[in-house]
């Protein structure tokens, strides 16, 4: 299959865009937040912060689903995985994130039955192949992943030995929560490219309209990010904020209507805690009453009383809100390292602390 991806990494194109960025900005500090771990990886991997004008600040927001899944949910997954007769399926991304005390990887060392999967249909197949076992899938992820969970529930409504730990979250609500808190001074957002593939541009419009923020849905190559920044600056300069799509090769204004429909057939919004940040209203997904039998927390009557999200002094929460950088955390690179994580942000491959650690600029 022929792909033109190299064009999006072409240095000459970057130079053109950078020149325009330079011409457009006035020297005033502009804070642009992205809400996508993969965007942070692109930015760090290609050293984009180093080549942008110094007054343009690219801030990392809570766009890493692994980082924002609460310790309570991880503790639930650990508990269920250690129970005889259960098989817990999970994406590999969250395996080493510590809950209150241990991670799923450590639970595996203690004998927990955990299977790393790539697609939720593997969990369903596992349940069908093992009718005497209970298969529980740890359903993390944003709106990109939630429809895949929904589809499997809809297509397997009679499957009695399959359930999920519902941990999906909604990005536009999180963005609104950050703005409403008044804690974060953000001029514009680079919106997540793949979440937007599903939800389209409409769910962000209220942020442009009611909060006057510039919004651009950006792709994942370095030139996508640079172009998105240019488009944000243009909106701010014209004082006319809206939701624009830079990632036109994939994102349509209507998104994927079928995926959206399936997601809302199975789930409805709820309040949910974002690790280190707090409860953000309407930012989570819970199973509708009709599908409650798939809720593993209710099915197994799980009551996790106390869950400890962050260590004292740990800055994961502030980092996720864009109020601090990994280097501001007293544990970063000292007691907290990827091999000995104290918080979630350094475990996830897309966590801001891990990215800073791995791609740390010199």
């Amino acid at each position: 299959m022929k792909r033109n991806i190299d064009k999006f990494r072409e240095k000459s194109f970057s130079q053109q865009v950078l020149q325009k960025i330079d011409e457009l900005q006035s020297g005033k500090e502009i804070k642009i937040m992205h809400v996508c771990g993969t965007h942070e990886v692109t930015i760090a991997k290609w050293g984009l912060r180093e080549i942008l004008p110094k007054n343009i600040k690219l801030i990392c927001g809570p766009g890493c689903p692994v980082c924002v899944t609460s310790a309570q949910e991880i503790d639930s997954a650990v508990k269920l995985s250690l129970t005889n007769n259960n098989i817990l399926t999970t994406f590999g991304d969250i395996l080493r994130v510590p809950g209150t005390s241990i991670s799923l990887a450590e639970a595996a060392s203690q004998g927990a039955n955990i299977k790393v999967i790539y697609c939720i249909d593997e969990a369903v197949s596992l349940a069908k192949k093992n009718p005497k076992k209970q298969v529980i899938h740890f359903a993390i992820g944003f709106e990109t992943t939630a429809p895949t969970t929904a589809v499997e529930i809809l297509n397997n409504s009679n499957l009695d030995n399959f359930s999920i730990i519902p941990s999906h979250r909604l990005i536009p609500s999180a963005m609104a929560g950050l703005l409403k808190s008044g804690q974060c001074q953000i001029d514009g957002f680079i919106c997540p490219g793949h979440v937007s593939t599903i939800i389209g541009s409409q769910p962000y419009e209220f942020l442009a309209r009611d909060f006057s923020r510039a919004l651009v849905i950006g792709g994942f190559e370095p030139n996508d990010i640079l172009l998105s920044i240019l488009m944000i600056l243009r909106q701010l300069r014209k004082k006319k904020t809206s939701v624009e799509i830079e990632y036109t090769r994939l994102v349509k204004p209507a998104g994927n209507p079928l995926a959206i429909k399936k997601m809302w057939q199975v789930f409805e919004p709820c309040h949910i805690g974002w690790r280190g940040i707090g409860i953000i209203p309407h930012s989570g997904l819970k199973l509708r009453l009709k599908f409650k039998k798939f809720d593993a927390i209710k099915k197994f009557n799980l009551k996790i009383k106390r869950a400890f999200d962050v260590r004292p002094g740990c800055k994961c929460g502030e980092i996720m809100k864009g109020l601090a950088e990994p280097k501001d955390c007293p544990y970063f690179k000292k007691q907290c390292k990827p091999e000995f994580p104290l918080g979630a942000c350094i475990v996830s491959i897309e966590g801001p602390c891990f990215v800073a650690y791995k791609y740390g600029s010199i």
Binding site: M1, K2, R3, N4, I5, K7, F8, F13, Q16, V17, K20, E23, L24, C36, G37, T38, G63, C64, P65, F91, Y118, C119, I120, D121, E122, G141, F142, T144, T145, P147, T148, V151, N155, P192, G193, H194, V195, T197, I198, G219, N223, D224, L227, L230, M231, R234, R237, E246, T248, R249, L250, V251, K252, N256, L258, A259, K262, E350
Partner: protein
């Protein structure tokens, strides 16, 4: 977040499709969210599902976008 990879539909069945990701990488994925895709379409795959059909001329689209931004140097100085 949300790693999603572009590929081309090589073969299609009712619930599944075989996607060629380039470099000889092929995988069977589910098309429950995009049943309308056809053989030869360019698509994007996340967690084993096709989530969207992609425009064929990917590079051209974005470069046209840049050219169409109508950035007037004099106006913004």
């Amino acid at each position: 977040m949300c790693l999603a990879i572009p590929g081309k539909v090589k073969k299609k069945r009712k619930e599944d499709a075989w996607i060629d990701f380039g470099g000889g990488v092929v995988k069977k994925v589910k098309i429950s969210l995009t049943p309308q895709v056809k053989r030869g379409d360019y698509v994007v795959v996340h967690a084993g599902y096709v989530i969207q059909k992609m425009e064929k001329e990917e590079a051209r689209e974005t470069i046209e976008l840049f050219n169409n931004l109508k950035l007037n140097e004099k106006k913004y100085r």
